[in-house]
């Protein structure tokens, strides 16, 4: 057990202040659609260059954890995930807000994010070196199957229409192929357009597919954006903690899932949120209310995506392989500071690493009051702003957020067009989530598929390459389970009901 001196070092007034500033800045930036956790860290990272490495790492971790939580606000209140990690939060968060429970959903997200963040940090503290080996066990084909697993999960979850979900996922994967090819650098599907050369930017697509349909429906009627069923005077904290306590096992399981998925480089919070949401729904007694504003759904996704912070730092610090995109930015900043990550960091640089891990605990705890306050302000703003200001403000934010990613006006046009397409598809039962996840996971899936294909073809063992490795087979089993479990459950239920009717 690392010594108390590191705890004291993490608790210095300067480090506490940096953690508080980092969490606040991350939460505010993460709440703006288009500004992701990666951007929050990247934008604020130069501030840390003049600090000592431990404090710098602590502040970057605090920004990262705050930004992941901040993404939940837009997901709950506007049906637009502030960050890709909050995609699954929209499933139950927005229906809760529509029912007038937006304040409770925001508080639940805060409680879950803090719990998930603490579990992730605990794994980082106690199990970092052995868990880092997991990341090395995953080869290209495993990443391909993992991406497919994420897509089948979201297809099965999003609207309850598997076939349409899978079509949406394929559409997203094809959109991800636009531009320069991942491995061979060939130009694909641009049809001579210079604008499409850079491909479709993921966050722009996310903003378009989620936010524009909301705006289109918002502007069309004089109805209020969100229902207000009661005069909310408090954070509804007791209620949120009671719900969280009732679902404590689900919360813990989601946090562990988030940590383990976070360890896998590139997988990130979006898959973590989906896997934990799917598990929570599968095991819940109230599974039929998932997708209609079930608090357990918000708890599962938000705890999982914040647990990826600690999980992602495991391969980053132990192996020097960034677990998530913000980890890559943090890794770069550490290299600038002269810190060499790797197994020896935990022994040679114990002061930096353990100060940071304890700092991450502190930052996560500080996220509780900060998150509650910012969340309350965000909720009150959204419900009190008149439509004539809300619509242009959100539209303006989508334009600004999209432009700021690549400084490209073309990205804004693509974002708007995708939004209109998303609105039309939505009217015929195609959810935006599989399309967005297809775009996000497209490059991971393609890299894994093409590398496995090339190796398999060269060794004349194509079948064995895709279906002959133990981890791959396990993930394939999960894929089959996620695809066929709802159908089998339905059949089993019908069979049981028939049986009981016969007895009567």
């Amino acid at each position: 057990m690392p010594g108390i001196e590191y705890i004291l070092e993490a608790l210095t007034p300067l480090n506490l202040l940096l953690a508080l500033l980092g969490v606040t800045a991350g939460t505010v930036i993460g709440s703006i659609p288009g500004l992701t956790a990666t951007m929050s860290v990247a934008v604020l990272v130069p501030i840390t260059f003049s600090m000592n490495p431990g404090s710098a790492l602590l502040m970057m971790g605090a920004i990262y954890t705050g930004a992941l939580y901040g993404g939940a606000y837009a997901a709950i209140l506007l049906n637009t995930p502030g960050t890709p990690s909050a995609i699954a939060t929209t499933f139950d968060g927005f229906p809760m807000a529509k029912k007038g429970e937006g304040d409770l959903a925001v508080t639940l997200a805060c409680v879950a994010s803090v719990s998930g963040g603490l579990v992730g940090a605990a794994f980082l503290l106690f199990l970092a070196p052995p868990l880092a080996e997991v990341a090395l066990a995953f080869g290209p084909v495993e990443y391909f199957w993992l991406a497919i697993f994420g897509l089948t999960l979201i297809s099965a979850l999003s609207e309850g229409n598997l076939l349409k979900g899978l079509i949406g996922a394929c559409f997203g994967l094809l959109l991800a192929c636009i531009g320069i090819a991942e491995i061979s650098a060939d130009v694909r599907f641009t049809f001579g357009s210079q604008v499409l050369l850079g491909g479709i930017e993921i966050v722009s697509a996310l903003i378009g597919l989620y936010c524009i349909p909301v705006l289109i429906d918002l502007v069309a009627t004089p109805d209020k954006h969100l229902e207000i069923t009661h005069k909310s005077k408090s954070f509804r904290l007791i209620e949120a903690i009671t719900i969280a306590w009732r679902h404590k096992f689900s919360l813990l399981r989601s946090s562990v899932i988030g940590t383990l998925v976070g360890i896998l480089p590139g997988a990130g919070g979006s898959i973590a949120g989906l896997v934990s949401y799917s598990e929570a729904r599968r095991t819940s007694a109230r599974r039929d209310s998932f997708g209609k504003g079930e608090p357990e759904g918000v708890l599962a996704t938000e705890s999982a995506n914040n647990a990826t912070v600690g999980g992602g730092f495991i391969p980053t610090l132990v192996l020097g392989i960034p677990g998530t995109p913000p980890d890559a930015v943090i890794l770069g900043a550490l290299l600038i500071q002269g810190v060499r990550t790797g197994p020896s960091l935990f022994t040679d640089g114990g002061s930096i690493v353990y100060t940071f891990i304890y700092g991450l605990f502190i930052a996560t705890i500080l996220m509780f009051p900060v998150g509650l306050l910012v969340g309350r302000y965000a909720y009150k703003t959204i419900i009190s702003v008149p439509k004539a200001l809300l619509v242009p403000a959100v539209a303006f934010m989508t334009i600004l957020g999209t432009f700021s990613i690549r400084n490209s006006v073309s990205d804004i046009v693509i974002m708007i067009i995708l939004g209109v397409i998303g609105w039309i598809l939505n009217r015929f039962g195609f959810s935006p989530s599989p399309i967005v996840l297809g775009l996000i996971l497209g490059s991971i899936a393609e890299q894994g598929f093409v590398q496995a294909w090339t190796i398999g073809s060269a060794t004349d063992e194509l079948g064995k390459m895709f279906f002959g490795r133990p981890i791959s087979l396990t993930i394939i089993a999960f894929i089959c389970f996620s695809l066929f479990y709802p159908i089998l459950r339905k059949r089993w239920k019908a069979f049981k009901m028939r049986g009981s009717d016969d007895i009567k």
């Binding site: 934008v43 309850g160 229409n161 076939l163 349409k164 899978l166 079509i167 394929c170 559409f171 094809l174 192929c177 090819a181 491995i183 061979s184 060939d186 694909r188 599907f189 049809f191 524009i212 705006l215 289109i216 429906d217 918002l218 502007v219 069309a220 009627t221 004089p222 109805d223 008149p386 439509k387 004539a388 200001l389 809300l390 619509v391 242009p392 403000a393 539209a395 303006f396 934010m397 334009i399 600004l400 432009f403 700021s404 400084n407 006006v409 804004i412 046009v413 708007i416 939004g419 209109v420 598809l425 009217r427 015929f428 039962g429 195609f430 899936a445 393609e446 598929f449 093409v450 294909w453």
Partner: protein
């Protein structure tokens, strides 16, 4: 919110047209891959395009055989198509004028235009003062935050260079 069931006829029509469009997209993608020389470039998109065609054919077959158990989609009654179209056109025009007028000016124009089309309340004197002032404060505030603090190079406009 007042809502009614989307007309069955329209939904049936869309249920067949959309898979047809997806198949067309997949066929175009397959055709485009024939120009690629390196197998690393085309193996993945071809696999996805073929999967997309199969899935859409299954969707069409399911619809034609009446095996679908889709939830009926709801449509808002009395929703203004004009405002919806104006919103999209307003946002697209904002993109077109941005390189010329700069982000700040085009942002203010777009904000005010979208404010007008989403206004359902009466334009009282109070509203006439508060709403445009809020628009100005919001746009200028975010412009300064992004351009001066976050250092995003927002367009200044060719007329103001």
């Amino acid at each position: 919110m007042t809502s009614s069931k989307m007309t069955k006829k329209n939904q049936n029509y869309g249920e067949l047209v959309l898979p047809g469009l997806f198949i067309l997209i997949a066929v175009i993608a397959l055709w485009d891959t024939t120009n690629m020389m390196d197998s690393d470039s085309y193996v993945f998109p071809r696999a996805i395009a073929i999967a997309m065609i199969i899935l859409n054919l299954l969707l069409i077959a399911r619809k034609l055989l009446n095996l679908t158990n889709d939830k009926e989609q709801t449509r808002t009654v009395g929703a203004s198509t004009f405002r919806r179209v104006a919103l999209i056109i307003g946002m697209l025009i904002s993109c077109m004028i941005m390189p010329y007028l700069g982000f700040l000016l085009s942002g203010i124009i777009t904000f005010i235009f979208l404010m007008i089309i989403s206004m359902y309340d009466e334009w009282t004197i109070k509203n006439k003062i508060i709403y445009p002032s809020t628009a100005l404060i919001t746009v200028i505030g975010f412009y300064l935050l992004f351009s001066k603090i976050l250092l995003v190079p927002l367009p200044t406009g060719v007329f103001f260079d």
